[in-house]
């Protein structure tokens, strides 16, 4: 159930305040999606991404700049590869879609490649929807949408998404295409990177499904959005394209669920003090207080996913949280959550000896000391 309109508007207004005056909302990009996947339970990440705060700028303003950067070599190479894949009206790309996903269809020839240029993200989104509707009016033809723009309602405000390409098949179904620059070596690729690509594609699929529903009318059902996407990568050590179909049903289900939970950001927003603002223009002290007013659940996985990770890590270490050493560390510690609590329990200075976690810690400490002593002898 979507929240009532008035509440939605109020939330949008509130989120704009959190961003700061005249700061535009940042799109929910691949990095934000990765951060969501890596730490869905983090309230700080949820509110910042939900409000479209630029976390890179925020991290720098806080004095803990993020370490994400892109080498211009990688950028150049990636762009060159994508251009190559899409050259000649996307002939190679469409050939791969046909070969990997839809062999029974007519091979693509004279595919439609509509122009999607428009002003602003709203304009481009509308343009994309229009061309998708147009494609539905051309059954039997292949259509390639190069860098379409999609909108997805995330916590009451539209997030804009830009897939590398969307292909409309002759049967009217849609396929998301992801073009990546990591190689497909002897048919396999880095599983972590494929996983990230699949999660990214799942978001595009969800956004497309919303568009599809709107296209349905009495005489025609909604176009089908395929749940196998096409991943295009350089083949082996060349820059020739190779492709693989990826089943993203699982990622789609997980992301749909996580996005549904994002409505909680209303609740998070409600807990913030009046006037809280995350604008990077603010002095560092004020900004730190604002960021600290919403709790984070830092884990080391954040380092590779979230711009704010260094800031949160420093805080997490300061408070002595054991999770700064990794989530699994807590598994056997029961209710003990800080380094000092654990060590005090292990030394026998604190903790209930009948608690199995405390008992095991003491035993571990004794055994460890005994072994180290034996080694010294």
């Amino acid at each position: 159930m979507p929240p009532p309109r008035t509440r939605g508007t109020a939330l949008r207004h509130r989120l704009a305040e959190l961003r700061g005056p005249d700061v535009p909302a940042k799109a929910l990009d691949a990095r934000a999606l990765a951060a969501l996947a890596a730490n869905p339970g983090c309230a700080r990440r949820a509110i910042l991404d939900g409000a479209g705060v630029n976390k890179t700028a925020l991290a720098s303003a806080l004095g803990s700049p993020s370490a994400f950067g892109q080498s211009q070599f990688a950028l150049t190479r990636g762009n060159a590869f994508e251009a190559k894949v899409k050259a000649d009206g996307g002939a190679e790309l469409l050939r791969l879609v046909h070969e990997k996903l839809d062999r029974s269809a007519e091979p693509p020839a004279d595919a439609r490649v509509p122009d999607l240029t428009a002003t602003g993200p709203q304009g481009r989104t509308a343009r994309t929807a229009l061309e998708l509707r147009e494609a539905a009016a051309h059954p039997g033809a292949w259509t390639l949408l190069d860098h379409p723009m999609l909108a997805l309602d995330v916590a009451g405000s539209p997030a804009f998404l830009e897939p590398d390409a969307v292909v409309v098949h002759p049967d009217g179904s849609w396929t998301v295409v992801e073009i990546k620059s990591f190689p497909l070596l002897d048919g396999s690729a880095d599983p972590a990177k494929v996983g990230a690509a699949a999660r990214q594609a799942a978001v595009y699929v969800l956004a497309l499904e919303e568009v599809a529903v709107r296209l349905a009318h009495e005489t025609a059902p909604a176009p089908r959005v395929r749940h196998r996407i096409l991943l295009v990568c350089p083949k082996d050590f060349s820059n020739l394209p190779a492709a693989s179909a990826v089943d993203i049903r699982k990622q789609r289900a997980v992301t749909a669920r996580q996005l549904a939970r994002l409505t909680r950001i209303e609740d998070i927003a409600d807990t913030l003090p009046e006037g809280t603002c995350f604008s990077p223009e603010l002095p560092a002290e004020e900004l730190t207080a604002a960021v600290e007013s919403v709790p984070a659940t830092y884990a080391p996985e954040c380092l590779s996913a979230c711009e704010l990770a260094f800031h949160c890590r420093a805080r997490s270490r300061e408070t002595g949280a054991v999770t700064s050493l990794g989530r699994p560390v807590r598994a056997e510690l029961g209710g003990l959550a800080t380094v000092e609590d654990v060590l005090a329990a292990a030394r026998g200075e604190a903790g209930d000896p009948d608690d199995p976690a405390v008992a095991a810690l003491r035993r571990a400490a004794v055994l460890r000391a005994e072994a180290l002593e034996a080694a010294c002898r």
Binding site: A38, P40, G41, S188, T255, G334, D354, P356
Partner: protein
């Protein structure tokens, strides 16, 4: 549906088709998916007897010695005249002593000494060391979904054709070292035997046993929907066919209330206050033990389609399931403390294939500060939630749904591998949502 579902007829039809393909089909393999309690062992015994009757030398491959011994006993029970060979290892106590009492069962550590017998049964590990000049005409591979592809590779040369039987919803086989480099290959040695078999032989006839005779009508729909979304099954019994009653009325305590809830509905959730605990959470362990103690104390009686008279709910009809061995040990100790020495307490791995009237389960995620892939593995939960004929009582701390919501979804994706359903997250939520309707909140 216009016709009334007749479970016996549906099961018989499936069995006939399987036996027909096995005895008269031309394919080299036949695959049978069997959900929990769908009569897999009965099928294996029947197929073995019919193949033997048809004069076809048969080898049977099972995964553990207990499974092998169980099959030998069942075969002998059905046909005491049948000459059966039990091939065993050369370790001490290699087989169940009960086999010594069977006249027509010959036991040996050497395959040559069992040559010529109608049926020879052993574990996959033992078969892997056997060399033959002439392969067996037929084999039955039991628990094929729990067998690793490389184990099948080691024995497949011993037979010409085979019937593969197993439960796809239970725990997958695993390797103790990384095997990513073969992910996506049809013959990935760490995959399940059936996965490899079907990747290379996609046209083999595949069957499914459609009826669970174990799970009651209260459990089959949930287990089917949560763990077998694409291969649903039904319960062989109706809602009125089974009943659980207690002579001693409830004393109003948490354990008694959850027992009554489970007796009435087939499910019970005893929810303890939210708290992060180590695996051997003393309160949860005590709660499990208390429930078992009360199950015994209250003079339970189970009625079912099996007999007209109710049968008493004795210690051997109850089992406790946990995720970890130390939890099982802690529950055993707690039970011993309450004077209950003879209730089976084991991990999901060891409870696979077993059946009880009532099970008490310590939820794998209870009290955990974090969820891991191990705890979310659907097979584990599936095993724990599908061992019972009457009722399943789950003991768990509150807060597991939040834990699931916070679980990161950063699984790597291997190109070329088949996506396995259901997802652990979804299955866990489905079970939790169902259990929530049978919740008894208790502060010990």
């Amino acid at each position: 549906m216009t016709t009334v579902f007749d479970p016996s007829a549906a099961a018989a039809q499936a069995t006939d088709a399987i036996l027909h393909d096995t005895l008269h089909g031309t394919a080299r393999g036949v695959v049978v998916d069997s959900p929990p309690g769908a009569g897999k062992s009965t099928l294996v015994v029947r197929a073995a007897l019919e193949l033997a009757e048809a004069g076809r030398p048969l080898m049977v491959v099972a995964q553990t010695n207990a499974q092998v011994d169980d099959l030998v006993l069942r075969l002998a029970e059905k046909n005491p005249e049948l000459p059966v060979g039990r091939l065993h290892s050369s370790d001490a106590d290699p087989y169940d002593k009960a086999l010594d009492g069977l006249e027509n069962v010959r036991k040996s550590a050497k395959a040559a000494e069992l040559a010529g017998l109608a049926v020879v049964i052993s574990t996959a590990a033992k078969w892997a060391h056997v060399k033959v000049d002439e392969p067996w005409r037929h084999a039955i591979v039991d628990e094929a979904y729990q067998m690793r592809s490389d184990a099948l590779l080691a024995v497949a040369g011993l037979f010409e054709r085979a019937l593969f039987v197993g439960d796809p919803g239970q725990l997958d086989p695993f390797a103790i070292v990384g095997s990513e480099q073969w992910a996506g290959l049809a013959y990935d040695p760490s995959a399940s035997a059936v996965t490899t078999l079907l990747a290379h032989n996609p046209d083999l006839p595949q069957h499914r046993l459609p009826v669970s005779w174990r799970l009651p009508a209260s459990a089959a729909p949930l287990v089917s929907a949560a763990f077998y979304p694409y291969t649903p099954f039904r319960s062989g019994t109706g809602h009125g066919d089974r009943g659980l009653s207690f002579a001693v009325p409830s004393d109003g305590s948490g354990p008694d209330r959850v027992i009554d809830e489970a007796a009435a509905s087939g499910w019970g959730l005893l929810e303890l206050p939210a708290r992060h605990t180590p695996r051997t959470d003393p309160e949860a362990v005590q709660a499990v033990a208390a429930v078992v103690r009360r199950l015994l104390d209250r003079g339970g009686a189970a009625t079912s389609e099996r007999s007209a008279a109710p049968s008493p709910l004795t210690a051997d009809r109850i089992a406790v399931g946990t995720a970890h061995r130390d939890q099982a040990a802690a529950v055993r100790a707690a039970l011993a403390g309450l004077g209950v020495p003879d209730v089976v307490v084991d991990t999901a791995n060891r409870l696979q294939g077993r059946e009880y009237d009532v099970t008490v389960v310590l939820h794998p995620l209870s009290g955990r500060p974090d969820a891991t892939a191990f705890h979310l593995e659907t097979g584990r939960l599936c095993v724990l939630a599908s061992r019972h004929r009457h009722a399943c009582i789950v003991v768990c701390r509150a807060g597991v749904s939040d834990l699931l919501d916070d679980y990161p979804s950063t699984e790597p994706v291997q190109l070329g591998t088949v996506v396995k359903f259901p997802d652990g997250w979804e299955a866990n939520h489905a079970v939790l949502a169902h259990l929530a309707e049978h919740r008894v909140v208790w502060r010990p």
